[in-house]
């Protein structure tokens, strides 16, 4: 069984977000980029565990992005992926990125395509279901456990108000959530090995995107916190009723 893990290159969670070019571009100056945490901690690490247990033969990373994301891809290789492919394009939207992943997965006969439940930059939660739609494959979202038995995946995943255990024959697509695996820190051997692992660069295929971002705006933060004392809880309740109007 071959697993394709899609990773996104995103600003670290603690980044102070800024825009440039009259608020039409994300300003990446001085920003630390990382593998999207859900792609890394949950999807990639679980895929590697399956390989280590003998359930999978190969784990490939796919990333849609320009050359400046190679450090992020190499980190994925250092954690343990066998090889990686970078589709050389700046993805304008989820549809474009999904098409690249779907085309590559189909052409190279991957049995399982997986990624995190969402990216922490655009928060769309869309790529997994889009890839599945483009490949006409089943999709399971928010998987918290994944095991392999023969040609089937056994998955526990979150649904409204609970969890569900499902079985699905490969090939399929899934998105991973908390519970799948624990974060791994690459060791020195992994880091050394990652430098010589194959990282193919391929051109984009398919269409242009279907959406484009016109402009960005920082969301206004809260400016003042009204401090009250333990003795004025009636006042707090009153403020929640008359000022905030939430109770």
């Amino acid at each position: 069984m071959k697993i394709l893990v899609a990773i996104s290159n995103v600003p670290d969670t603690t980044t102070k977000i800024q825009f440039s070019d009259n608020d039409t571009k994300f300003n990446s100056a001085g920003v630390t980029f990382v593998i999207n945490p859900y792609d890394e901690w949950y999807a990639l690490v679980r895929a590697l565990e399956l390989k280590e247990s003998g359930a999978a033969e190969k784990v490939t990373i796919i990333h849609v992005g320009l050359a400046d994301s190679e450090a992020t891809i190499r980190k994925g290789l250092a954690i343990g992926a066998d090889d990686a492919v970078r589709v050389d394009a700046e993805g304008p939207d989820s549809y474009f990125v999904s098409e690249q992943i779907a085309n590559y997965a189909k052409a190279n006969n991957y049995d399982l395509v997986m990624m995190g439940k969402e990216t922490i930059n655009y928060n769309g939660s869309s790529v997994g279901a889009m890839v599945a739609g483009l490949m006409d494959l089943p999709f399971v979202s928010l998987a918290t456990k994944l095991d392999v038995s023969g040609n089937k995946a056994i998955i526990e995943h979150e649904i409204d108000g609970g969890t569900q255990v499902v079985e699905c024959e490969f090939p399929m697509v899934l998105s991973a959530a908390k519970g799948m695996a624990e974060q791994r820190i690459p060791n020195m051997r992994g880091i050394m090995a990652s430098r010589t692992k194959p990282l193919a660069v391929i051109p984009a295929t398919g269409s242009a995107g279907l959406t484009s971002i016109k402009s960005y705006q920082l969301n206004p933060g809260r400016t003042t916190c009204k401090m009250l004392s333990e003795d004025s809880l009636d006042e707090l309740v009153n403020l929640l009723h008359t000022e905030a109007k939430v109770i």
């Binding site: 939660s125 089943p138 499902v166 333990e230 309740v237």
Partner: protein
């Protein structure tokens, strides 16, 4: 031309997020001179009436046991409705169902999608622009949808629901799923113990607690406060990691992102990963014994002090307020 809305029935009622979508679609219908058509599966008469009141002109009443079980079936069924109704805009809630069905439909129809819209679209001739949150709520982006058919999933609790006196025409809509198969076989379903609370992702009032509570045995005061408000309980990541509280209560970047009207955070310091999951809340109250806790910078109201002394007093104050209201 029509705006098609996917509406879900859950536990005997029309999902709140779905009613928000019908309201939202009514506004889009005005902007695009079209009418609102609702797709709903297995709805009863009173549920159909409620959907009409939210602004639907026509309801496609579907009766199919496969719809709603798996995104493969649900997507194929909606695709048939899109064609039958010449829908140019399709609206979903940005909830678990919306997240697995809307992108699949986008792929099938080659329709551009904005996932998690927070405002009405701005329509100007052929230009169609929608705002959504990006960078985990730190910023928003204005997207232009450039395809003929457009899909929007609406972030729940973005707008209050208004119900009018409108009555929709209800028609039976037969979906043909004979040629569609799903390989997903459901083996087991486990429900979260909820004690009758509103599910966290739909809750308008949330009482959340963190490590400051010192141990799971101390959650009684949190539950009492939640009960007095008819709120849902939540917790921070360390609390769920230490198994003090179930995983489905965990809010924050790795847990659920929520945006209730009121979020009361007790004994939670306010790490950036936690804020990413709650910063969309309309009003935030922070109770913490550390006056330097970063959460106070992101709160509307704050109290510095001992949660074990403050929380029971707050519960009493709310009970008193509720009693006076009646």
């Amino acid at each position: 031309m029509s705006v098609l809305v996917f509406v879900e029935i859950n536990k005997g009622r029309v999902k709140k997020a779905s009613l928000e979508c019908v309201n939202y679609a009514a506004k889009i219908a005005q902007l695009t001179s079209s009418s609102v058509v609702v797709f709903v599966n297995n709805a009863d008469a009173s549920q159909l009436e409620e959907i009409g009141k939210a602004g639907a002109s026509k309801i496609l009443a579907v009766k199919n046991d496969k719809v709603g079980t798996d995104s493969v079936y649900t997507t194929a069924a909606i695709e048939q409705a899109v064609k039958a109704e010449n829908a140019k805009t399709i609206v979903f809630a940005f909830d678990l169902t919306g997240k697995s069905v809307a992108p699949r439909l986008s792929a099938k129809l080659k329709a551009g999608m904005v996932a998690g819209a927070t405002d009405y679209p701005v329509v100007n001739g052929n230009s169609f622009e929608v705002k959504k949150n990006v960078f985990s709520g730190k910023a928003s982006a204005l997207y232009s949808i450039n395809s003929d058919i457009k899909i929007i999933s609406l972030l729940p609790n973005s707008f209050p629901i208004t119900l009018g006196s409108n009555a929709a025409s209800v028609v039976d809509f037969n979906v043909d799923l004979g040629s569609v198969t799903s390989k997903i076989i459901v083996k087991e379903v486990k429900s979260n113990a909820s004690d009758g609370m509103v599910p966290l992702t739909e809750a308008e009032l949330v009482v959340s607690a963190g490590r400051g509570l010192k141990g799971p045995e101390n959650w009684g005061i949190i539950e009492e406060l939640a009960k007095s408000l008819n709120a849902t309980t939540a917790c921070s990541r360390p609390v769920s990691d230490m198994h003090w509280r179930p995983h489905h209560e965990h809010v924050g970047q790795t847990g659920f992102a929520i945006r209730p009207n009121l979020y009361i955070a007790i004994g939670i310091s306010g790490a950036i990963q936690h804020l990413a999951g709650v910063n969309g809340s309309k009003t935030i109250v922070v109770i913490n014994n550390d006056k330097e806790a970063p959460f106070f910078k992101s709160a509307d109201y704050g109290i510095v002090g001992d949660a074990f002394s403050i929380v029971p007093k707050l519960t009493e104050a709310i009970k008193k307020f509720k009693a006076n209201q009646n």
